[in-house]
């Protein structure tokens, strides 16, 4: 149902329909802004957000065939962030052996990374650990775990194969667990 609504909105947006545009913005601006904030500094995120929706209007007729409107918009946001900031594509962190990543994430170690953390403290620690990740790792986690995109949608946004999305996500989560352990309490 949501897919049909978005497709209908976008076909009206392509014809310059202001109400449809406003509706599209209301449906998707918060998640697009969150993704933008994971790509650029807070001050530029709103520029990326505005540019995303204006670009969506300019090329609304290219939407057909995308996995979903959400994934399509997030891919536009990713391009807008790069264009506005002339950033190269995020460089992948070194491909360490999985066992090393696992060990730093707490595999075979104690205590567990989230021991004794809950509520607001847990939220803060997760956000801080996410902040410390390399952009490519953060992107994978934000798209799959926070935005709730499917593997196929994430593959479309990142322009990589679904198998590569799975590998990157798993490694990114292990690095996040490592960052949580390294950050500890009071970080």
């Amino acid at each position: 149902m949501a897919a049909e609504i978005d497709a209908e909105l976008l076909s009206r947006v392509a014809r310059g329909d202001r109400a449809a545009f406003a509706c599209l913005v209301r449906r998707h601006s918060a998640p697009v802004l969150r993704f933008a904030r994971s790509l650029v500094d807070a001050g530029s995120a709103e520029d990326v957000l505005q540019e995303t929706f204006l670009a969506a209007y300019r090329k609304a007729d290219t939407f057909r065939g995308a996995e979903s409107a959400r994934a399509w918009l997030l891919a536009i946001a990713r391009n807008a962030a790069r264009r506005l900031h002339r950033r190269p594509s995020p460089v992948l962190a070194d491909e360490e052996a999985l066992a090393e990543l696992g060990a730093r994430a707490g595999w075979g170690q104690t205590p567990s990374p989230l021991a004794a953390a809950e509520g607001a403290e847990l939220r803060e620690r997760l956000a801080a650990a996410l902040e410390r990740l390399a952009p490519a790792d953060r992107e994978a986690i934000v798209l799959r775990d926070l935005e709730g995109l499917t593997t196929a949608e994430t593959a479309e946004v990142l322009g990589i194969r679904p198998g590569a999305v799975k590998t990157r996500l798993h490694r990114a989560r292990l690095r996040l667990m490592g960052a949580l352990r390294a950050g500890g309490r009071g970080q």
Binding site: G16, R18, F21, A22, V25, R26, S29, A30, P31, L33, R34, E46, L49, Q50, F53, L54, Y57, R58, L98, A99, G102, A103, A105, G106, W107, G108, S112, P113, L114, L122, R123, L126, A127, L130, I141, D145, L146, G148, K166, L169, H170, R173, L174, L176, M177, L180
Partner: protein, 90 residues
């Protein structure tokens, strides 16, 4: 230090490698059963798998709701849209 064990026909490293697919329910039944046999017999992987699942659940639960855009954003964007839509050529 890590102890690499073979339990349920899988080594700990193999279980680590397929943890994400296991939690996503994307392993074929035969492999899933071996992972479960390993987890039942290996306290190291059982504990780590639980931590991994908790971290993912926390991300999804705690950070799932995005903050709304700042006040006035929608008005600014709609004005920009009207300008763009009013341009010749559209």
């Amino acid at each position: 230090m890590r102890r690499e064990r073979s339990v349920g026909g899988l080594r700990c490293g193999e279980v680590l490698a397929c943890l994400a697919d296991y939690l996503a329910g994307e392993l074929e039944a035969r492999v899933r059963e071996r992972v479960e046999a390993h987890l039942a017999g290996c306290d190291v992987c059982e504990r780590f798998g639980g931590d991994y699942a908790r971290v993912v659940a926390c991300l999804r639960r705690i950070l799932a709701a995005p903050d709304p855009p700042p006040d006035g954003f929608e008005e600014r964007l709609l004005r920009a849209f009207e300008e763009a839509a009013g341009e010749p050529g559209h």
